[in-house]
């Protein structure tokens, strides 16, 4: 297996509340209202809360009824994880233009390996400027195509640069929106010592114990003997101490795009019907998407080859074939979106004969995110996206005909209430 590229110098790009920012970017007026995003699971609790909503006391983890009780003007958004993931995948692709070493964290957090970039761009300050410009160009493409509303989420990003991911992340977390903090080489210890312990990857219990011991800053933690911290907190404590003291420069670990993924199907009898070929394409796409090498990657280029039946049967040695190559504008792991352009080509220029064998190849990939796998496996996400598109299309048709939506979705208000009429409520379904 080829070794993954690494980089000891790192730039951290951080967009706090990334999913909420994506919603604000595509919906007019949201940014001026207290807003909250519902969790993508079935808990119907709040997942992310805008600063305006926070001022009214609304917090992540609250139920809808609690939140509306505190802030009656609160705007709730249903989550669209596939959209956030697509936006983030585009960001990673844009950053990949600067450096081949990109590591993604949670949604909105990415590390760019900058080893060797000095020779191209110059000082860390200039590298950071290049990343800023990339962020600007990425922002332009964030809004949905055709949307009359485009708002930049550019000012909400923060950048940090330093040796190792941790220093870069802490620098980014200290930066003002739209700005960068650069930690000079050799200055990591000094920079980190003044930072609060909350920047460490701590569980609540360890955080509480450190505070009980009077340790408020990384400097205070690093001042303790390493052995004592290890004895108190085990291996986790040792890692925390090394991070606090700037002794661990965890490198950025990039990924290597997988080799082309191929799926093929041989027909027992040559097939000429378009329906059957389309069905076979769907099967091949599903099979190729399931390939373990594809996990964490979006498909960017697809090649479909059809071997055609020879005119003269066995006596005709001439091989005939049909080829379609598609470059997807937005890399995707959604089977329907991969199939759509192939179907169009099949309709516009069908094979000039019956197909004996169909070969599908994913030839180029764009980095995906690890978070997608937290939300749903691709097949589930694809199914959900397909269902949503069908429902949205039906809702639009109903609205056009009847001039009102007539469709609602049910939300839980007080599911525990002893009064049945308080448990659920309806809200207009407006795609």
């Amino acid at each position: 297996m080829p070794q993954r590229p690494t980089s000891s110098l790192a730039a951290c790009v951080w967009i706090p509340l990334f999913p909420l920012r994506c919603e604000e970017a595509r919906r007019e007026g949201l940014v001026t209202h207290p807003t909250a995003l519902l969790a993508p699971d079935l808990s119907r609790k709040l997942w992310q809360v805008s600063p305006l909503a926070r001022h009214t006391g609304v917090r992540p983890g609250m139920t809808v009824s609690q939140a509306i009780g505190l802030c009656p003007t609160l705007r709730l958004c249903e989550p669209d994880p596939v959209h956030y993931d697509n936006c983030f995948a585009r960001l990673l692709s844009a950053l990949n233009e600067i450096s081949p070493v990109i590591e993604s964290g949670e949604l909105g957090l990415a590390y760019v390996g900058t080893d060797g970039l000095e020779g191209i761009y110059g000082t860390p300050g200039r590298i950071v400027e290049v990343i800023k410009r990339t962020m600007e160009s990425w922002n332009v493409g964030t809004s949905e195509a055709g949307s009359p509303f485009q708002r930049s989420i550019f000012p909400s990003f923060r950048l940090g640069w330093g040796k190792g991911k941790f220093a870069a992340w802490v620098a980014a977390s200290r930066a003002k929106p739209g700005e960068a903090v650069i930690v000079p080489a050799g200055g990591e210890g000094k920079f980190l010592s003044a930072q609060p312990i909350a920047v460490l990857p701590l569980d609540p219990d360890t955080h509480r114990r450190l505070r009980q011991l009077g340790i408020r800053t990384l400097g205070a933690l690093a001042a303790l003997p390493e052995e004592a911290v290890t004895a108190q907190f085990g291996a986790v404590g040792r890692r925390l101490w090394r991070l606090a003291a700037g002794r661990t420069g965890e490198p950025v670990v990039g990924s290597i795009a997988p080799e082309p993924i191929v799926a093929a199907l041989t027909f027992f009898t040559p097939v000429g019907e378009r329906d059957l070929i389309e069905r076979a394409i769907d099967q091949l796409i599903a099979r190729a998407l399931k390939d373990s090498r594809r996990i964490g990657w979006r498909v960017q280029a697809v090649r479909l080859v059809a071997e055609l039946e020879s005119w003269g049967g066995d006596e005709d040695p001439t091989n005939r074939s049909w080829l379609v190559t598609v470059l997807l504008k937005d890399p995707t792991a959604d089977g329907a979106r991969i199939a759509a352009p192939l179907r169009t080509r099949l309709e516009q220029a069908p094979p000039a004969g019956a197909v004996t064998r169909l070969i599908l190849e994913f030839t180029a990939f764009a980095p995906g995110t690890t978070e997608l796998q937290l939300f749903a496996r691709d097949a589930v996400a694809a199914a959900r996206a397909g269902q949503r598109r069908a429902l949205e299309s039906a809702a639009r048709e109903i609205h056009q005909r009847l001039k009102r939506t007539c469709l609602y979705h049910v939300i839980e208000v007080q599911p525990w209430s002893r009064l049945p009429e308080r448990r659920y409520a309806l809200i207009d379904f407006e795609p």
């Binding site: 509306i68 002893r418 009429e421 308080r422 659920y424 809200i427 207009d428 379904f429 407006e430």
Partner: protein, 102 residues
Amino acid sequence: MVAPARTALRADRLRAVNVPRPVAVELNAGGEPTLFRRSRDNGGGQETKAAVVEAILESWRVDDEWWRQLISRRYFEVALEGGGRVVLFEDRVSGEWFVQTA
């Protein structure tokens, strides 16, 4: 539940589900409902339909929110003659009866 839309939800656009509808109820000697009538506007006037209670499946009381505006209800989950199940309740504050879907 219907698949979610991406539209922002607002509290002023929420519609209650399973809102209680007023009914006229006949009671037996034990104070349990034996028949109820509900009126419905059919466009040309009021239409009244009666439903006979075949059996009382369950009954319970809810006394709540005494610190705000007292809610005191006596609920009956009933099976109707000819099929169907509904929940009837008496608002013990106003004395009115209501029906809800079970």
